[in-house]
Symmetry: C2
DNA sequence: CAAAATAAATTCACTCAATGAAGTAAGTAT
DNA sequence: ATACTTACTTCATTGAGTGAATTTATTTTG
């Protein structure tokens, strides 16, 4: 049996191509043009005949669509990298995405530090920047100013103009309605019900898409990480809070009414520990950073610095150096981590669960076989793969860029741009 | 604020028509012919121009498709029942489904009693039958024999031949893969991994579809109950076990890999009460009938009869007549009921949750405002409507017939049947 | 009551995307 | 060199749907 837990530290280590490796679903009706574009992108390169077979369309149709996409500058023919000379017949001509056909910006906003990247149409990072954010909360104007600074910096570094940017994706914590581009509430904002996407879009004259942090991590996994090639997977994030993202049929599931997937606030104990949301028994209250630090503060001489990240590092160090109290805190948290994973399996039965978030840096003991523990709490014994990712800070911005890429491919492939 | 809990006892009390009142989803690509058929069925009757507007297709297209469907005997023109004489212009001609265009059979199998119905294409019950099932578990052959008996009886009563049946839907408890028609495990069967759909299909020479009981209750709500008109709703069933069904985008969601939605076995307490599944802390272990009877047996002088239903009735009677132990048992169960509902809201954020199952007969105190209690445990304060349904036994078979109708409409509308 | 107005339904030339068969291109096997 | 194989292109045809013009059926207005 293979190990269930893998540690890895950079996105885009999977095969070739980017974007979901599988089509969205059988019944996702999109233009054939977009399907061809996405198939080529998802595979890095693909011949016309491969594409025709994969999409179950005629070879003639692919020829025509490929010609249009080439004319539009979106794809091109390349030297086939993996030319197999053992096969006879006319060799296929590989098609590949033209990386510079369009560009997007991905922005992650956070309490301590914002980060942003500018990528080409296959997600290659062409420029990146960051901005220390001092205020924990700010007005919409201030946030928009910070966003403008990030964008200006990216354009400056890359030498591009804003007309070359096809879309901007922004991700951050909060209750965000992606469809309407509205922020119902966010820890970053003093105001509520802010139509942020509209505001930034008008100011930059570029389409803007926003989503919450759990969803953009999930998109990062779908586009560049282990989620590629999986039709159904869940992402569980553990750090300051506990969140989750879900991909069903190769498509990000955002909950029935745009909310939902609040795993951190599902109840795992009646009248249990007090959560920061004010209720009792939330999973978060046993598992999130703030919960652990609260416990640690009562027992250990740490967490007096006020900075959560430092406190967590101290706690992890104490645990590794053998402090029994610190170890007990992590042990207990891990029990609830397993419980959360088990509940995901029971409810969604995904192919894969990806554990993500800062916690993965110092918490999961390598020798605990997570899947074994989860199996003890689930009925489905064909239990899914579980993988832990300790990404560097770039995941967030990359996920935000995937948000922008999703939208951009949509209207770039809609008709031949002259 | 309106009351959250409603009690009602028969399906098909909603407006007119049957089947989902909304199309499956934006991206559900199905033939326009099927869309027209389903629009007319979903609305009871609809004019060509209404249909064209609703489906965003041209009037000419509807004329053609309607002509085909009429020629195929699937729909017909009717006297407009709600003729508005105040509007001028040529009055619309209402189209309606021809009920006798095809027929299906829906079967529910259970430990104590199987039931089956024969319906027309709009779900009207034309014949019904039942069969006492003595053995708790039986071989596949025996089960197939029982099914054959039910079908033969329905045909006999209705005076139809099996060639007139377009599809058969069968629902029962167990781990059932609807896609492949395989029963991985069922409390009714001694064997596992049974390709039941194939077996019954070959014997009857009719397409057969199977699904688990939670899903067929959900289908019953989607086709004939309060789920009509809701794009996203959940059904939570409480009786011997705890189950759930989910409709997303007007389509039954069966979990990523055909399993999932095992709400009864999500963990709500680490190392908690022992569940019949052998694990600890399952929601079911605090809420299902068997759990309550186990508690009651320790305290009260009931549940010695062995028959669960009788024991539950005794417990309910004791509670209503003021027995404090019995009341305490129900009170505790209701806390977990609320917890289950709250977790559904947090994860799926549906428009509506329908509470179903035998428990609704005697458990929910009418004066407890469920929604208020659920709101105390959820973040989303735009909390969804909650409705309790105490159906008679016919729901199951009707849900199974909806399963058959779903499939039958699919191939009936595929091309003009000569 | 006839004419005008209005809306539903039908008809039909046209569009557009895709098919599928025939033909061309570009390589390997013998 | 010839046969074979596979990739790609071309193009007449298909089929579903559009949209404008027309017909039909009714109410309102003069």
């Amino acid at each position: 049996m293979s190990r269930a837990i893998l540690h890895s530290d950079s996105l885009s280590r999977s095969t070739s191509g980017c974007g979901p490796a599988l089509p969205e679903s059988d019944f996702a009706k999109k233009s054939t043009r977009k399907q061809v574009f996405e198939y080529v992108r998802g595979h890095g390169s693909a011949s016309r005949s491969d594409t025709a077979r994969a999409l179950s369309i005629s070879a003639g149709a692919v020829t025509g669509i490929a010609a249009e996409l080439i004319a539009a500058g979106l794809i091109r023919e390349i030297e086939d990298p993996k030319r197999e000379t053992t096969v006879r017949g006319r060799p296929p001509v590989a098609l590949a995405i033209v990386p510079d056909s369009f560009h997007v910006i991905g922005i992650h906003l956070a309490n301590e530090r914002h980060s942003a990247i500018l990528t080409d149409s296959i997600g290659t990072v062409l420029a990146e920047t960051a901005l220390d954010a001092h205020a924990p909360k700010r007005s919409v104007e201030e946030l928009v100013d910070e966003i403008s600074l990030l964008i200006a910096d990216l354009l400056n570094v890359s030498g591009m103009t804003k007309t070359q940017i096809s879309a901007i994706g922004i991700g951050f914590a909060g209750l965000i309605d992606h469809t309407t581009g509205t922020v119902s509430w966010s820890p970053l904002l003093t105001e509520t019900d802010v139509k942020l996407a509209n505001i930034v879009s008008e100011q930059t004259d570029t389409p803007v898409f926003i989503d919450n942090d759990a969803n953009i991590v999930t998109l990062a996994e779908l586009w560049f990480g282990d989620g590629r090639g999986k039709s159904n997977f869940a992402v569980m994030t553990v750090e300051h809070g506990v969140g989750m993202g879900l991909v069903l049929n190769n498509r990000l599931f955002r909950g029935a009414r745009g909310m939902g997937l609040e795993l951190g606030h599902t109840k795992v104990q009646i009248g249990g520990a007090l959560c920061r949301c004010g209720q009792r028994g939330c999973l978060e209250a046993y598992l999130a950073d703030y919960a652990l630090i609260k416990e640690a503060a009562a027992v250990l001489d740490i967490a007096k610095l006020g900075v959560e990240k430092t406190a967590m590092e101290q706690l992890a160090t104490a645990s590794k150096s053998g402090d029994p109290s610190a170890q007990a805190i992590f042990d207990n948290a891990n029990k609830y981590l397993v419980l959360g994973l088990a509940n995901i399996v029971q409810l969604f039965d995904p192919d894969l669960i990806i554990l993500s978030g800062e916690r993965m840096r110092y918490s999961i003991p390598k020798d605990v076989h997570l899947r074994t523990e989860v199996n003890k709490l689930t009925l489905n014994k064909n239990a899914c793969e579980i993988v832990a990712h300790a990404w560097d800070g770039s995941v967030w911005a990359r996920g935000a860029s995937a948000l922008a890429l999703t939208a951009a491919t949509d209207y770039v492939t809609r008709e031949s741009r002259q």
